[in-house]
Amino acid sequence: MGGMDDNLHRLFSALKARGLTPAQEQKFQAELDAGGRHDTTHPPAGADTRPAGPHDPLARAEWSLYRYTDPDQLLDLAPARPSYEVCLRSIDELLERDRLREKDGFPRKIRVGRLIKPGRGTRGKVVVVPTTVEEKFVHDTSFKESLEEGQTGGTGEGEEGEIIGERPVRPEGGEGSGAGEGQSGPHELESNAYDLGKILTEQFQLPNLKNKGKKRSLTRYTYELTDKNRGFGQLLDKKATLRRILETNLTLGRISDVSDIDPSQFLIGPGDKVYRILSREKDFESQAMVFFLRDYSASMAGKPTELVVAQHVLIYAWLLYQYEGQVESRFILHDTDATEVEDFYTYYNSRVAGGTKVASAFRLVNEIVEKEDLVRDYNIYVFHGTDGDDWDTEGDESIPVIEQMLTYVNRVGITIAQQGSGTDGTEVEKYLKKSGLLEKRQDLLRLDILGEDTDETRLIEGIRRLISEEPIKV
């Protein structure tokens, strides 16, 4: 790590020498100072992610006193949840109910649920939990929790002010946020991303792709009556047969006057009959390669990462449905350097650290595409998530690589998950707008800016902006 830190500091000094605004300098310095490393902090899938047992003094620190219940305490009965099959059966009914709601003039109520729980190596596996909210007038105490300290009771030794324990700010276990109780047993509905894509397309009326471009022949065949065969077959080709009979009779010299032919006098050989016959035809299909790029620099800690990854899961699911499963995905993480990671798990769980150079990720994609000659066989999609910070403040490096990318992609979607109120816009936003690419190439390049308070509906709306083929006002 020492070497990398040195590099970062050198880069930082060089940037400073070129001139930075005080705000930028402060921001970059903060990323530098944050330190840390990009390890995946979470236990591998399948590991026990339950909170530590009673020996952990903080195990119940966040428990409300109303969470203690008799079945739990006395009977060891965990709250039960409907099984996977039951949920799967009901989701169609629920969505149908939701459609009716809209017809009746009430807003929809079913959410597809927060859904990230990819295990290592299990691509395309996403957890869908159909959820809803029962709205009431209730007090919002969150404003106290965010600023003031959360409070609870304790017992035992310790002077006032003494620290008695700590736990990480980001809970371990890779639980998607909002998946209900979590931890308390098998309650998720495991569905595949394809189903989710279907839900997104149907339920939220995400657009279907109009032109997918058929590119690669696959080992998939259709059967058509395209081949001809003499002697036997499924369907007599009358025109071709008549032509053959004529040829035969001409050769035999049975036709003296072509202007006066008597068909009843034809001699017909068995080989004269021409049939159409079923034959195997190679099919050409469209398929897609999606690159997911994520900024995992130090500034991405918390909400921005969550938003970006949640949106990427949804996009992935939607593409999977659009391409009928023919989607391959690649995952790239970047800070000042970019690196490709093997699976979504690593992509999702890698911890943030380091500085930011957006260009590095795009450059890596360009390299991969060229090296593997992906353009020939794939429709290529690139989705990039960032908080908008970039040490390359003017986009001197980013804009050229993006332009290069636009020569071969079907779509580039950039999501900026903004932190704070940031009225003047982030670096990435500014240089993209300045470059004019968003207007000139809006068929290929889209930008979506998310606020901190983004909810699921907004995320899905964002996807619409990123992928729709309709022109969008910039």
Binding site: A61, D72, S83, T132, G154, E160, E166
Partner: protein, 547 residues
């Protein structure tokens, strides 16, 4: 679901006898069922009432990321159900000694349900039976009206945390007759105060005059009194007559108000909706006392399962097993708030004080620490005293009255603070305070407390708009939920609905004088600026304005 076997039932009956000998009072019949996980699937969303009405949301996972327990009454997950006979649920593989412990716990809950005055409105009927007939009504309506029944359930549930539980209770506990005529009541309670808005001294003078009239002539006094009233307010007779004609009991909550006054719900073709709303309201009312007595109820049950188990002659040889299970249930966590542990210790503590006669003025006047410690009148009526508490108190009163510094010291209690360590990205938990004032405040703040929202009749008058006033308690509402909740109320009311509430305008740590760095992060003091706002739901569109 099946009943427990005869052997286990005989253990239960033995527990009942011993519990009754110890002074617990409950109806003798109870029902005990074995439940499987599959049964729990169906029971849990129906608040453990097998006969509760069907509703599609029961089949979906409900997100409660915001104010999970604020959303009550729809998530209690309990073993004992307050019905007649009381129902309780068990898993089927418990050893006998463990069943003995659990049965005592359950019986103490039943005793609490059937004696604590905050449950008074649930004593008169069997909720499970009521629920079954309600379920049938709703099923029948659903057959006729289809999904519109579910909309009504949804909208009614949207306001079912605002039920007037306390006014319902107060109505029940009121003496039936004050001996005053309705005319007198109207004159003093409504006419003078609301119609005439007289000054206090005028009001008091009138009361004195009334008393004088009555004193001079017990029979005709009232007539004499009103003769003067008629002269002073010639319109009184007419106003009173009108009042009598359209007399309505003031509604106890928003739901009841809607039932009585909503033009929409009172249209002939919409009358059926009233039945649905009534069901939702009654269900909510039924569950209200449970969450308001969590600490007491669990403390009471834990106190008795421990006390009775240790005296039980049937469990010899299982003391160690019991100790392990019992400590898991009733140990005070190093960090956290366990209602079983807290409630049980408070009951023991209060009993001990009672035995020494410390619930007395004589004791309270002693300031000397040593004298306080050694004070003992040997009155021995602690047990009797805690029985009184289980009858008359709820969590708020219990904590507020009996949690004191001596108790804190004895059990080494403290308030735990949590602050973020930015550098290491961890939450640090630390001992924040050992003062009883802080601890009590922390505990009281964590008790269930739905927003107090009342109907403002004055502001409601114009063009049929319903005006709701959220009383300011330094707590804003969850904004995301406002729109849909108000949409539901607008539907049930049939006209626009307005809600006045308070929101945070700005929030920052208080800067302390002379401290150039401002407040340290994690400082308690927050300078919150509040702003009054008004939401209007009209034609399913929500607008918001600052006041």
């Amino acid at each position: 679901m099946e009943l427990i076997d005869q052997h286990t039932k005989s253990i239960m009956e033995g527990c009942k006898r011993r519990a009754q000998d110890a002074g617990l009072r409950f109806q003798d019949e109870t029902l005990e069922y074995i439940v499987t996980n599959r049964d729990l699937l169906e029971l849990a969303p129906k608040v453990m009432i097998p006969t509760l009405y069907d509703y599609w949301v029961h089949d979906v996972e409900v997100l409660r990321e915001k104010g999970k327990y604020e959303l009550y009454p729809h998530n209690p997950y309990e073993t004992v159900i307050n019905t007649r006979p009381a129902i309780s649920f068990y898993n089927d593989n418990n050893p006998d000694w463990l069943n003995v412990m659990i049965f005592y716990h359950v019986l103490a809950h039943v005793d609490f349900f059937q004696n604590n005055l905050f449950f008074k409105h649930t004593w008169e009927y069997d909720f499970a039976g009521q629920a079954l007939s309600d379920k049938r009504i709703i099923a029948r309506l659903r057959a006729e009206k289809g999904r519109w029944v579910d909309y009504i359930i949804e909208f009614a549930r949207g306001v079912d945390n605002l039920v007037g539980y306390h006014s319902e209770l107060s109505q029940m506990s009121r003496p039936f007759d004050t001996g005053l005529s309705s005319q007198v009541n109207y004159y003093f309670d409504v006419f003078l105060q609301t119609e005439k808005r007289v000054k206090i001294n005028t009001y008091v003078q009138e009361i004195e005059r009334y008393n004088r009239c009555l004193a001079s002539d017990h029979r005709q006094g009232e007539k004499t009194f009103f003769a003067v009233v008629d002269k002073k307010y010639p319109e009184f007779k007419a106003v009173y007559g009108k009042y009598l004609a359209e007399r309505r009991v003031p509604p106890r909550d928003l739901m009841q108000f809607l039932l009585k006054n909503s033009p929409f719900l009172n249209k002939g073709q919409n009358k059926w909706m009233q039945a649905v709303i009534e069901v939702v309201r009654n269900t909510s009312l039924f569950f209200q006392p449970q969450i308001r007595t969590k600490i007491m109820n669990e403390g009471w049950a834990s106190y008795w399962h421990e006390t009775l188990f240790l005296q039980d002659d049937r469990i010899k040889g299982h003391e160690v097993d019991f100790a392990r299970v019992n400590s898991a249930v009733t140990a005070m966590p190093r960090v956290g708030m366990n209602p079983y542990a807290m409630g049980m210790r408070l009951f023991y503590y209060i009993e001990e004080l009672g035995n020494k006669g410390k619930h007395s003025i004589a004791f309270r006047q002693i300031r000397d620490a040593h004298q306080r410690k050694t004070f003992d009148l040997g009155t021995g009526d602690g047990r009797q005293f805690i029985f009184k508490l289980r009858e008359n108190l709820n969590d708020f009163l219990f904590i507020n009255a009996f949690l004191d510094q001596d108790f804190m010291n004895r059990h080494n209690l403290f308030v735990v603070g949590r602050r973020m360590n930015q550098e290491r990205m961890v939450w640090e938990y630390y001992v924040k305070s050992r003062k009883v004032e802080d601890y009590r405040k922390m505990l009281l703040d964590s008790l269930y407390h739905p927003p107090h929202i009342v109907i403002d009749p004055q502001k409601s008058e114009t063009n049929g708009t319903l005006y709701l006033d959220h009383r300011f308690e330094e707590k804003p509402l969850v904004k995301d939920y406002i729109a849909n909740t108000m949409l539901g109320i607008e539907f049930l009311w049939g006209s626009p609905v307005q809600l006045e509430t308070s929101e945070i305008e700005s929030i920052e740590p208080v800067k302390k004088d002379g401290d150039s760095n401002g407040a340290e992060p994690g400082s308690d003091e927050l300078d919150i600026k509040w702003r009054r706002v008004r939401y209007t739901m009209k034609d399913k569109k929500l607008t918001r304005e600052n006041l």
